[in-house]
């Protein structure tokens, strides 16, 4: 009985080790994403995610890259290299799913751009700013989980502020971390450089945007003029002579 138990234990162990070896072997052979940048811009309530990927293909010309849960691919175009098929394929290995792009170039550096659509992203959610806060603030957040079995060399994400709104802040901002606030073209972007992203790791960026009510500046200036005039009128004696007590 004991021998049977031992044999079953050894068989199970061998099975796990071999499965892991297969997985590791595939991960080691897959094309490597050297760097990746997501630039999220508005299209109505939807987000257009322009994903720029620099990668090194494997010996079969393959590159794998992660699937974002909240966005679907609309198109793909190469910047350098030649895609053998116009579409990428979705591949699943156990609980891991990722996209596979095949290039004519084997073990070469390629770069390509993927356009994705995130539906309803710019509808946002009410910003969590505590109990005292400016009105009309919304949080826009995007989560990107590396669903591939290999690390992404470096990953950056930028979220554009819709026209007519202001970037209130980047959630959890710290000037000691690689947050960025940039202006590119017609948009202001809040961004973060996540660096190397391990398999299974989730990268999240959130910005708070808000819509300053039109007319609030006029109202403020009226208050400023009234307060200043009132204060100066009440304190005219300050200009006349110093008062000793």
């Amino acid at each position: 009985m004991n021998k049977i138990k031992k044999l079953s234990y050894i068989s199970c162990l061998c099975l796990f080790v071999s499965l892991a070896a297969v997985q590791t072997s595939y991960a080691g052979d897959a094309g490597k994403v050297v760097s990746m940048e997501d630039r999220i811009t508005p299209d109505g309530q939807d987000a257009i995610i322009t994903q720029t990927i620099n990668a090194k293909t494997n010996e079969s010309g393959e590159v794998i890259f992660p699937i974002w849960k909240d966005a679907a691919i609309e198109s793909i175009k190469t910047i350098s290299g030649t895609l053998t098929a116009e579409e990428v394929t979705e591949k699943t290995d156990g609980d891991q799913s990722y996209y596979l792009a095949v290039f004519a170039e084997k073990e070469k550096e390629v770069s390509f751009q993927v356009i994705l659509r995130g539906e309803g992203f710019y509808a946002g959610e009410t910003a969590d700013l505590g109990d005292t806060y400016p009105g009309n603030a919304k949080e826009l957040s995007f989560k990107a989980k590396n669903t591939t079995p290999i690390s992404i060399g470096s990953y950056q994400m930028k979220i554009a502020v819709p026209k007519g709104k202001e970037l209130l802040n980047i959630v959890d901002y710290s000037d000691k971390k690689p947050f960025t606030i940039t202006s590119e073209g017609e948009y202001t972007f809040g961004g973060f450089d996540f660096g190397k992203v391990s398999p299974g790791k989730e990268s999240k960026l959130a910005i708070n945007v808000f819509d300053k009510k039109s007319g609030s500046s006029v109202f403020l200036w009226i208050i400023i003029i009234l307060l200043s005039a009132g204060f100066m009128y009440r304190n005219l004696d300050l200009l006349k002579k110093p008062v000793n007590e």
Partner: protein
């Protein structure tokens, strides 16, 4: 409204600061100017590289700064408005803004008020001063040096420049009387020196002991919060004390050169001081209790990080101060009742608002953004450490000409200097801590501190004399700081 008044602890000393016409104009235009600045920040677009929160953090800070400097409305009122404005404008969450009241720097200041009240009530510092002078004061020079030493020593015991001035001022008056110096004497240089060195030794000694004034406590709070580096009581003392002692000696010699003491003035009659000392009688139980409590406090501060090895526990600087405050209030053991504690709540609230506005600037990235823009323009990153150090120390030492409040100077200087250091790749503590040693260099003009006003009341010196003497001593200190940056600060690993 147009008159600032400071009433000191000793009932006989009242300082009334009458504002100059320029200060009154500042007060008149302060509120409108501050509101216009706020309106401009609110209405104009967000600059590239900054968030709306960052832009408004700067707007709130500058608005508050104008109001603090011009004193159009009380500084604590401005601070309360700052606490409301930060979350309302989306700069900082409400929880964080209100949380400043719980910062250790605020607790430390609070405890320092209680300790100062206890020491003042006990009369221990006065006894110490009188004993030193009557025992060792044999000539004008020895008296001047003793007063300096006494000011330095009581800075350990009394964590408030004003309270120390209030204790020392009557003694200085007695000394002046003991020398037979009168205001009518045209060569009353001894009176000048006693009064001016009273100011200088009070303010300059403060720089050696972190707990000697609340602004310095705030400075190490900023250093800890913005750089993550903890400055201990002992480390501050080790770093700063040699420069302070040399500056005090420089002050002594510069004073002697500027105001020569006639031989007729050099004879002293210590009978008045001796009588005053005798009147104190034997050390009372209250004094003994105060001595024990403060002895424990100083010992724990001085032992510092070695507490864990000696006792098996570690009490931080702030916890030692809170423990000390608790002991002062303890029935039977202590000497204070709650009503006797002179806790300056207005200063605590002022500090809260000022601290919140300063930290919000850093947390929203404004400090880094502004400094990067400035340095890109000036090319400061190409300057050597010594040049940057020299420029910053000069600014830190003489900034009291523009911002008379120690707290305001701390709020402006320390985070800015940390930003400069970060942008230029210098260890921020190497610049911010020496700059913090200069926060109390308020020795050039009477309105720069209550200490100055107390001594100015003697009538023994005029404004020009104080400015000339003060400027020369500060230049000497500046030189000593630069020398220290190349020697002592390097030796102890500060730079």
């Amino acid at each position: 409204m147009n008159e600032a008044k400071a009433t000191l602890s000793a009932p006989e000393i009242k300082v009334k600061k009458v504002k100059s016409p320029f200060e009154l104009k500042m007060q008149f235009f302060g509120l409108p100017a501050a509101l216009i600045v706020f309106g401009l920040f609110y209405s104009t677009p967000v600059p590239v590289g900054l968030s709306y929160a960052g832009k408004m953090a700067l707007g709130v800070f500058l608005t508050a700064l104008i109001l603090w400097v011009t004193e159009s409305i009380p500084n604590y009122t401005v601070s309360l408005l700052v606490i409301v404005a930060l979350p309302l404008l989306g700069v900082w969450e409400e929880e964080k803004a209100m949380g400043v009241l719980g910062y250790e720097v605020i607790w430390l200041t609070f405890a320092a008020f209680i300790i100062a009240s206890g020491m003042e009530k006990s009369g221990l510092a006065k006894r110490l001063a009188l004993n030193l002078i009557t025992r060792f004061g044999k000539s004008a020079n020895s008296i001047l040096l003793l007063l300096m030493a006494t000011n330095f020593l009581i800075a350990f015991v009394v964590p408030s420049t004003t309270a120390r001035a209030a204790m020392m001022f009557p003694i200085v008056l007695l000394v002046i009387e003991a020398f037979g110096t009168t205001l009518n004497d045209p060569k009353n240089n001894l009176g000048k020196l006693l009064a001016l060195q009273g100011i200088q030794s009070n303010n300059l000694s403060t720089g050696a002991i972190v707990t000697a004034t609340s602004a310095q406590i705030m400075a190490i709070g900023f250093i800890k919060d913005l750089t993550g580096q903890n400055i201990s009581w002992t480390y501050w003392f080790i770093a700063s004390a040699p420069v302070t002692i040399l500056t005090l000696l420089a002050s002594f010699f510069i004073g002697k050169l500027l105001f020569k003491i006639p031989a007729s003035n050099a004879k002293i009659n210590l009978s008045l001081l001796e009588e005053e000392r005798k009147n104190l009688g034997k050390m009372s139980l209250v004094e003994k209790k105060a001595l024990v409590i403060f002895g424990i406090t100083i010992a724990l501060w001085a032992i510092d990080t070695r507490q864990i090895h000696l006792f098996g526990f570690q009490l931080s600087l702030v916890m030692v101060a809170i423990l000390s405050a608790a002991l002062f209030f303890m029935p039977y053991l202590g000497i204070l009742k709650w009503k006797e504690a002179k806790i300056s709540w207005n200063l605590l609230i002022f500090a809260c608002g000022a601290y919140a506005a300063g930290v919000a600037l850093d947390e929203t990235g404004v400090a880094a953004w502004g400094l990067n823009a400035l340095f890109a323009h000036l090319g400061i990153e190409n300057m050597s450490f010594t040049v940057i150090f020299a420029v910053i120390m000069l600014i830190a030492s003489f900034s009291h000409f523009i911002f008379t409040s120690k707290t305001v100077r701390t709020i402006i200087l320390i985070p800015t200097i940390i930003g400069i250091a970060n942008a230029t790749g210098i260890n921020p503590v190497a610049l911010a801590l020496p700059a913090a040693f200069c926060i109390s260099d308020t020795i050039t003009l009477p309105p720069h501190s209550k200490v100055n006003l107390i001594y100015y009341n003697t009538g023994f010196f005029n404004v020009l004399e104080q400015m000339l003497y003060g400027t020369l001593v500060l230049l000497a200190k500046w030189g000593l700081m630069i020398i220290a940056s190349l020697t002592w600060f390097r030796f102890i690993g500060l730079v």
